[in-house]
Symmetry: C2
Subunit: 307 residues, 2 copies
């Protein structure tokens, strides 16, 4: 089994300058799974939903070839709900509602057949929840990727530091990298964070792209300059799904292949922001993805011959 993902499967309601969504499918694991499924990677989700979660959303995941046997349904509970409003610049947002519901007491259970995944993607959750998934595995995955956020740095620093020791790749945004390292320079921040456990750090900079740090190597992946960002929700998770899915598929964890994986993640994320929620990524075709990968090539590739 290739890619095991733990994370939220949720309801979102989103307001942007372009409009307001209904209560729609969201959640980190959802976006990660939809992205990796585009790469034909056998992907399993571990998550929790309530009795209010409609079958059509599960059918979407099943249709994409995603294994949902690790999604626990608590019939008398309600699905995790998040509502937010994006500002005019689309880079900042206010949270209007966070109802943890079934997520509050989430105890992930890894299905038997998923206890030896090639790659493990730990979506943004309480570090103890992330740790408990690692502990249930029978073999250490070839690559463990962890996503987290400032909330856990503020409230569960020690637990975060503990799980980080078992992680290969950490993904955070630039402000979180600065908070975590107490360094403004992202290069200095990366050096400090790479001493906390992971051998690789990805700093997500939204519309400014992403930086990949590994030992003394740095790679800079651009974000696609877009006419309009319609809804940024899920872009970071789509990115993580493309990155982890590409590596699970190719089983090559070299720096050069991580560069390719980041480009796949960036290309996939550039679709997610084009429509509300999962609307764009779930209708995406392989041809569209390949065309966009070509755009990414021409966006940054240049040739300079030095004497």
């Amino acid at each position: 089994m290739s890619l095991l993902v733990v994370g939220t499967v949720a309801f979102d309601q989103i307001e942007t300058p372009f409009g307001k969504s209904d209560i729609i499918l969201g959640g980190a694991a959802t976006f990660i799974g939809l992205a990796s499924s585009m790469l034909d990677v056998k992907t399993g989700l571990v998550s929790v939903i309530g009795g209010d979660f409609p079958q059509e959303h599960l059918d979407l995941l099943i249709d994409k070839g995603i294994d949902i046997s690790g999604i626990e349904k608590i019939e008398n509970g309600k699905t995790f709900f998040w509502a937010g409003r994006y500002h005019n610049d689309m880079n900042s947002r206010d949270t209007l509602a966070t109802e943890l519901n079934v997520l509050e007491n989430f105890q992930p259970i890894v299905p038997e057949k998923w206890k030896k995944p090639e790659v493990l993607m730990l979506g943004n959750l309480h570090p103890l929840v992330q740790k408990s998934v690692l502990n249930q595995l029978e073999e250490r995955p070839k690559l463990v990727i962890l996503d987290t956020m400032n909330f856990w740095m503020d409230l569960t620093w020690d637990e975060l530091m503990d799980v980080l020791k078992d992680v290969d790749v950490l993904t955070i945004n630039d402000e979180e990298a600065r908070q975590m390292s107490k360094e403004y320079s992202l290069v200095k921040a990366a050096k400090k964070i790479l001493e906390m456990g992971p051998h690789t750090l990805i700093i997500k900079k939204g519309e400014h792209g992403a930086l990949l740090f590994h030992e003394n190597n740095v790679f800079f992946a651009p974000a696609l300059p877009l006419e309009d960002v319609f809804d940024p929700t899920g872009a970071g998770d789509t990115f993580a799904g493309g990155f982890s899915g590409f590596l699970a598929k190719t089983k090559n964890y070299s720096f050069d292949n991580m560069k390719r994986a980041i480009i796949y993640g960036s290309a996939l994320a550039s679709f997610t922001v084009e429509k509300f929620g999962t609307d764009r990524i779930s209708e995406l075709t392989e041809d569209e993805l390949n065309d966009r990968l070509d755009v990414f090539k021409s966006l940054t590739n240049f040739d300079i011959e030095l004497d």
Copy 2:
């Protein structure tokens, strides 16, 4: 003659979190000239200085092979002076003093031998001053590049629009592109600005790199992630000097060659920020520049083979 530059030659005094400089050599034309001289391009400056301008600064420019015959010295005047203080993030700054002095009545005079330049670089100045240089030329240069700033958009919009009609390449930063186009999306902003005259637009994003727009093509050049930015003053002008110098040297104005030119500009600018003012760029060696160009290659180049 290859590259004609009009712009300021000035005194700067700079405060950063790392320290405070003396009153040192600054000015857009200074940085542009020093950058282009690294590429062995015959460069001529058109500017104005006061009687207080020390010969050692002129000697530095002469030593670099820069033609200073277009720098007018007004013996009973004082050289343009700017003082500023950078904030802790090094991305924003306060202007502490701006003394225009001899710049106030600057009437640029292009020397006879410089009236047929291959490339013209119009540094950030009043649009009428930029226009008067264009009007003095005997032949239109192969490429005219113009740098400007929000100050001229606020105060001299009509004059700016007028000179822009005669310009090939405009360089501004992201906030200025938004102000100029009244569009938040940089892609939309670029489309509008490219209808104002220039066929090519470079949007400088500081630590986030630069975007090159030309017709329907986009190129994204990264900035080098640095441990410390010591002093950002002059980085944008160094970038412009590398860009315009590379094009004047290679005489190839294709999109592919402009991509190379932007990488040269970015690489040169990454040195300028390492020390106060011109200290780093004026001691730079060709080997150091070539090494850094290699770093830029590995920073963004990747290979993905699509079916």
